[in-house]
């Protein structure tokens, strides 16, 4: 068997383009992924026009004042601001492509906000660009508008809560620069109760009794007003519960997906190609005369393809770890997961190779089979109809991509299910595809 491995290594060494790709590929992918995951998303260029006069940028609500910069800063944080002098310039910028959108805050924005509340205060957004950029800008601005609205409504809720406290406990309210003393509901109730105690006649009770009853009832339920206000500020609160295992951050999961994908392609293409090459060059018949058993040929191809893919993806993981924070203390688990996954993918590769008559057909078959399997394995639960999802689950379980992804994700990120379950799944697939490949070799002779 070692002579077969040596022969295949010699063939690989002579395929300079293939070896070059095997070396360049992990470096290129690791670098690209690293930059993609470690750099912030590009901010869209948006023309910005704030027409609110500086002396009217503050909303006065009683004693409190809110500067609308709180609102606009929230929006500006998500865009690359292109200042313009007027609305025409803003439109021109968008038309000429100097900006993908324009954000115009009208002069009466602060006034309408203080007088009519949120619904009457408006800002104008002018869009341009292709559908993808438009969608990106639209979703960015919409999300930031929602965040700014929430921030503003929070401030107004706090103000309103202050007024309710004054109405309950007493104090003073500033209206147009004049301070008005407020007795407060609690003090009013105490005074009514005192009058009723000093003059407990039937007439007084008849006249003040209902007032006292209302005052006590209002005091008893005063807490609801603040609760309602806080509900308006944040109507729905999201409570996140993870049912099992550790959640993997998206960038760390992306690393696992990229590594698994690379491992799959290198393994499957190399293994299928090496097996199909024996048939294409008619050498299998020569070997099958008892020089080497079919099983030994398959094992040799599997090990060589797995070793090459293992080296490539391990280098890739190390490269990515320069950009993305990966737990290097788990490197032993990386090696185990990569090794198990590589052998499983390589066994799938030799099974594909045993079906094909030539290398090109094997490569095409490997691509055609591997890509859909990878995509299917990434379909999330709830993304499709339940029955379809069950079918996808079965298909994913029959091929090694999902189990390999679980093993690598568990090794790199400590996600669930654990690495042992995934490796056991891969071991079963190795046996099944190994048997399929052995059966396929019979057709070679």
């Amino acid at each position: 068997m070692r002579w077969i491995v040596l022969k295949d290594v010699q063939i690989l060494r002579r395929s300079k383009l293939l070896v070059g790709l095997l070396i360049v590929y992990p470096i290129a992918i690791a670098t690209l992924m690293g930059f993609a995951l470690s750099s912030s998303p590009e901010k869209p260029r948006v023309a910005y026009l704030n027409q609110v006069p500086p002396n009217r940028a503050t909303i006065k609500l009683g004693e409190e004042s809110i500067n609308i910069r709180t609102y606009t800063e929230e929006l500006l944080g998500a865009i690359q601001k292109v200042p313009v002098a007027n609305r025409d310039q803003a439109v021109e910028k968008v038309k000429s492509g100097g900006a993908v959108a324009a954000l115009v805050i009208p002069p009466d924005f602060a006034t309408k906000l203080s007088q009519g509340g949120f619904s009457s205060a408006r800002i104008e957004v002018i869009y341009n660009g292709d559908a993808l950029k438009l969608s990106l800008v639209d979703s960015t601005i919409t999300a930031k508008l929602a965040a700014a609205d929430a921030e503003l409504s929070g401030q107004i809720s706090r103000l309103a809560n202050g007024y309710i406290d004054v109405l309950l406990d007493g104090g003073a309210i500033d209206v147009l620069g004049t301070r008005f003393p407020i007795l407060g509901l609690k003090n009013s109730t105490r005074r009514i109760d005192a009058v009723l105690a000093d003059d407990p006649t039937a007439a007084t009770k008849r006249r003040l009794g209902p007032v006292s009853k209302f005052a006590h009832l209002a005091l008893a339920n005063s807490g609801r007003a603040t609760a309602v206000l806080s509900t308006v500020q944040e109507p729905v609160q999201v409570e996140r519960t993870t049912l099992s295992g550790r959640r993997t951050p998206l960038d760390a999961f992306a690393v696992a997906v990229a590594v698994t994908m690379s491992l799959m392609f290198v393994c499957v293409l190399l293994a299928s190609g090496l097996v199909a090459l024996e048939r294409e060059e008619n050498t299998f018949t020569r070997l099958a005369r008892g020089l080497v058993s079919g099983t030994h040929i398959l094992v040799a191809k599997t090990l060589l393809a797995a070793a090459c893919a293992f080296a490539v993806t391990f280098a890739m993981l190390l490269g990515v770890s320069l950009f993305v924070s990966l737990d290097l203390s788990r490197i032993g688990l990386w090696l185990i997961a990569l090794c198990g996954s590589a052998i499983a993918f390589a066994t799938l590769g030799v099974a594909i190779g045993s079906l094909a008559r030539e290398v090109r057909a094997a490569s095409l078959l490997a691509f055609g089979l591997a890509l859909p399997i990878a995509f299917l394995a990434l379909v999330p639960s709830g993304g499709v109809a339940p029955l379809l999802y069950d079918i996808i689950q079965v298909i994913s379980a029959v091929f090694p991509f999902k189990a390999a992804l679980e093993a690598i994700d568990a090794a790199v990120n400590g996600s669930s299910p654990g690495i042992l379950q995934a490796l056991a799944h891969l071991a079963v697939l190795v046996v099944a595809f190994g048997a399929a490949a052995r059966y396929g070799l019979r057709r070679f002779a």
């Binding site: 002579w3 022969k7 063939i11 060059e281 008619n282 020569r286 070997l287 005369r289 008892g290 020089l291």
Partner: protein, 193 residues
Amino acid sequence: MSVAASAERAVASLVVAGVTKSFGSRRAGHDVSFELARGELLAIIGPNGAGRTTLLTMLAGIRTPDAGVVTQQGPNADKRIGWVPQQTAIHSKLTVAQNLRLFARLEGVEDPDAAVERMLEQTGLQERANDELSSLSGGNRQRVNIAVGLLADPPVLLLDELSGALDPNAAALASPSEDLEQAFVNFLRAGGH
């Protein structure tokens, strides 16, 4: 399909008895029997699709017959039968020497390097030893193909369409292939193909 043999010695090296092979309803060989003695030349002839290659692959041990047996006899009965397939069965990405060395090792030749040197000399390809097979002409590739079959000095050599890509005038292989080729050329001249 018919079998023509020229017996030179009486001791059988290869005994084929009642070999039969079918692929579904298509019969590729039925009850083929003959004996081959050491030094004997045997030509298997027949029209296209008669089952000549199938018979040879059964003799070489690549295919298993549906019925019948193939037995090696004599002092070298433990050695593997030599096999030169119709289409070149060598690795085009390896050099001539690498191909010969690989098969010498797989055949279990005691001194693979010496066997490689011997075959390079016999095929006249010493100067092309380090050339990749893909850079060789069809005729030279066929020489290497034949040389691989001769590497282990087999007691019986099976040649499937030997002259496929060879230049008859330039064939300079040493014994025993020189004799075999000459016998084959003579056979073709006799119009028996």
